[in-house]
């Protein structure tokens, strides 16, 4: 199904012979495969629907269009986010390039930098989970096979991986469960530098998007404020050519996006 990632497998397999008996491919290659499922290799646009739940009751709903393109040099995804709903926020833009976040309001025509201190909670903190690049920033180790329940209470046979963050990584540690065979992400747990659990993510509703089965809904549970849950649904994913200028802050006021 995703031949491209499997091609790299034999080389990594040789590097990790100890794990070869249990896992078909090396943990790092598994993570790369999981990254490839989540993020298409080509520039694309996708409509995201974010719903906030407090104590299980839906509170806010936000619809965004995300334009994403991988920066070939750094391997990082650059994201340009445009608000569609609610109407009062429609047209506002968020630029997430590198590790800096810019917010642009067409009403005031001003771009404001959102510092890391200002995205500790709320929707912005979820962006860190959604845009994570596990293959590049983290070193994966195999914990072992494990059967866990997915978001729909179905038991799935997974590989349990433990990822350690490098110097540029947002999280110091991630626990990741990938379905055996397909390498689909089923569940992830994201830890802070102090070792505290920050976020739990469930990936579900795999449907075909851009030729690959990709999760169309991510459920993010805030582990610090445990009453808070956000679901991120993605739909209408399609390839889109994105010019470099779109990821320049200075270009934000002149950006005209149709559709």
């Amino acid at each position: 199904m995703h031949r491209r990632t499997f091609l790299a497998a034999p080389a990594l397999l040789a590097a990790a012979p100890a794990l070869a008996q249990t896992a078909p491919i090396a943990p790092q290659a598994m993570v790369a495969a999981a990254d490839a499922i989540r993020n298409p290799g080509q520039p694309f646009r996708v409509t995201s629907t974010l719903t906030d739940y407090v104590g299980g009751r839906p509170r806010d709903k936000v619809v965004l269009v995300v334009f994403a393109r991988e920066d070939k040099k750094t391997g990082q995804f650059n994201n340009l986010v445009r608000y569609v709903e609610p109407p009062r926020d429609a047209g506002k833009l968020v630029l997430y390039a590198g590790s800096t976040l810019w917010f642009y309001d067409p009403a005031s025509k001003a771009a404001v930098r959102i510092s890391p201190q200002q995205r500790l909670t709320g929707q912005a903190s979820n962006g860190d989970v959604l845009t994570i690049n596990m293959q590049r920033d983290y070193k994966a180790a195999m914990v072992g096979p494990e059967a866990i329940q997915d978001a729909d209470r179905q038991s799935r046979n997974c590989w349990h991986l433990d990822l350690t963050g490098g110097p540029d990584a947002v999280y110091s540690r991630i626990e990741m469960w990938l379905e055996q065979g397909t390498h689909r992400m089923v569940k992830g747990k994201f830890y802070s530098d102090s070792g505290r659990l920050l976020k739990i993510a469930y990936y579900r509703k795999y449907i075909e998007q851009l030729g690959v089965q990709r999760p169309s809904e991510t459920i993010l549970i805030d582990a610090v404020d445990s009453a808070l849950v956000t679901t991120v649904g993605s739909s209408d994913m399609r390839p889109q050519e994105i010019p470099d200028a779109w990821f320049q802050r200075d270009f934000l006021p002149r950006l005209k996006i149709e559709g």
């Binding site: 510092s115 963050g165 110091s172 505290r196 610090v224």
Partner: protein, 461 residues
């Protein structure tokens, strides 16, 4: 002879003289009391400021001007070497009381069990050093002998918050705070529960539940120097009143190690400042110059600031009370001036015939002038001396009376006190000042008396 005459003249109109002496004495009393009170306030504010911020702080160059918005980025690399450099310097070492690293940071403090959170301003300090700093008391002020910092050197997870923050985060009951209402009930959402989401969140909640900590505790979220979100749990041992509401609602005092862990995560641990407390404030300029010299000769990317720069409040208090004291002294001076001018003018008028006689039997103008000037001096000397003695007496009574008041920027009432010991400079100044005023006041009538034509004066009825 001249003195005896002057003294007898003063006694001639006793009631008037007593009134003038009284006015001068009241001026002296007011200045002694207010001057002593201001001195105590300024020393109190200084003691308080030095206990909190130390005398001097060493930062990375530019932090003081630009860094407070993003403390993590202004961390001091190799702060332990700087600390050693200061502690082992032969010039600085004898002046030093404490040299200690600190971390300042901000983020979000939350008690998510009741869905309450607020941005906080935090300081990470070394508990033992902090306790030593809080005992600084070279002026032997009897009041605000601070308790310990509330931190525990052995247990970095313990910390102290402002009472306002404790109230916002719903810790009133747990910390047994008085005058602290429980948080208001949150608005409930009436949208239907999404069962699968709720079930999933609940199962994760129970699976990841940490062992229940019965001690009051809060979660602190902050972004590390690398921009990653970080969260730690802090046990709140106490809530301290901070005096200023903004601070009271946001202050978190924590162990240095905990603050470093929160701000630097898995990266290199740094300090934001090295705080120095000296034995005596008088050494401050010398110590500051020495540190500046060390920074310059070793070419370090550091800067040094004193507490007057760090805490503008100290300068404001000193300036304000200085202005009030000057104003009161000026008013007292003018009152004394008018009283003495009045008394002496009356005296000259009454004694015009007498002046004529004295002049007729050969006393020169200078003699008349000296006579009246001396009378003014005697009035001033008696008034000022009596005023000083009475003022010091009242000050001693006030100091023993157990009255209290709330000094500016303080969180607890302090005993009302008036400084007497070591104030001889102020007292001498008041005495001399009043003498100058009475001399000036006597000069005018004395001159007029001296210039009276002898014949007119003799004929005066």
């Amino acid at each position: 002879m001249l003195f005896k005459l002057a003294f007898r003249n003063i006694l001639r109109n006793r009631r008037r003289s007593v009134m003038s002496i009284g006015a001068i004495a009241v001026g002296a009393i007011a200045m002694v009391l207010f001057g002593g009170f201001v001195a105590i306030i300024i020393l109190g504010v200084q003691t308080d400021t030095v206990r909190r911020t130390g005398h001097l702080a060493i930062y990375r160059d530019g932090f003081f001007t630009f860094g407070s918005g993003n403390p993590a980025a202004w961390g001091m690399q190799g702060y332990t070497q700087v600390l050693d450099m200061v502690k082992q310097d032969p010039v600085l070492a004898p002046m030093l009381e404490v040299a200690t690293p600190t971390v300042s940071l901000f983020g979000i403090a939350g008690n998510f069990a009741i869905e309450a959170s607020r941005t906080f301003m935090g300081a990470g300090v070394v508990p033992q050093d902090r306790d030593t700093m809080r005992r600084w008391n070279p002026y032997q002020l009897t009041y605000n002998n601070a308790a310990d910092s509330g931190l525990d050197a052995a247990d970095p997870t313990k910390g102290v918050v402002g009472t306002g923050l404790a109230r916002i985060l719903g810790l009133c009951e747990a910390l047994k705070l008085s005058d602290c209402p429980p948080p208001q009930a949150k608005e409930k959402l009436d949208t239907p529960v999404s069962t699968d989401i709720a079930a999933l969140a609940d199962s994760e909640k129970s699976a990841n539940a940490e062992p229940v900590d019965t001690r009051p505790h809060i979660d602190l979220l902050a972004a590390t120097a690398g921009g990653a979100p970080n969260v730690i749990n802090m046990v709140v041992t106490r809530a301290d009143r901070q005096g200023v509401k903004e601070l009271d609602d946001a202050m978190v005092l924590m162990h240095f190690d905990l603050a470093q862990q929160l701000l630097y995560g898995r990266g290199e641990k740094r300090a934001i400042a090295i705080v120095l407390q000296l034995h005596s404030t008088a050494d401050m300029p010398a110590a500051k110059a020495r540190i500046a010299e060390l920074i310059r000769t070793r070419n370090l990317p550091l800067e040094v600031r004193d507490f007057i720069e760090i805490s503008p409040f100290y300068g404001q208090v000193t300036g304000m009370f200085g202005a009030i004291f000057t104003f009161i002294a000026a008013i007292m001076g003018v009152i004394v001036l008018f009283t003495v001018v009045n008394t002496m003018s009356m005296s000259v008028m009454e004694r015009t015939a007498e002046i004529g006689t004295a002049r007729a039997i050969g006393l020169r103008r200078g003699g008349i002038r000296r006579q009246f000037l001396l009378e003014g001096w005697i009035l001033g000397a008696i008034g000022a001396s009596a005023g000083l003695l009475i003022g010091i007496g009242i000050a001693m009574i006030v100091n023993r009376s157990g009255l209290t008041w709330m000094p500016p920027g303080q969180s607890a009432p302090s005993p009302l006190a008036v400084m007497v010991d070591g104030m001889w400079k102020l007292h001498a100044g008041i005495w001399l000042g009043l003498m100058v005023m009475t001399t000036l006041a006597a000069l005018l009538p004395a001159n007029r008396a001296a210039r009276l034509p002898v014949v007119d004066a003799l004929r005066h009825v």
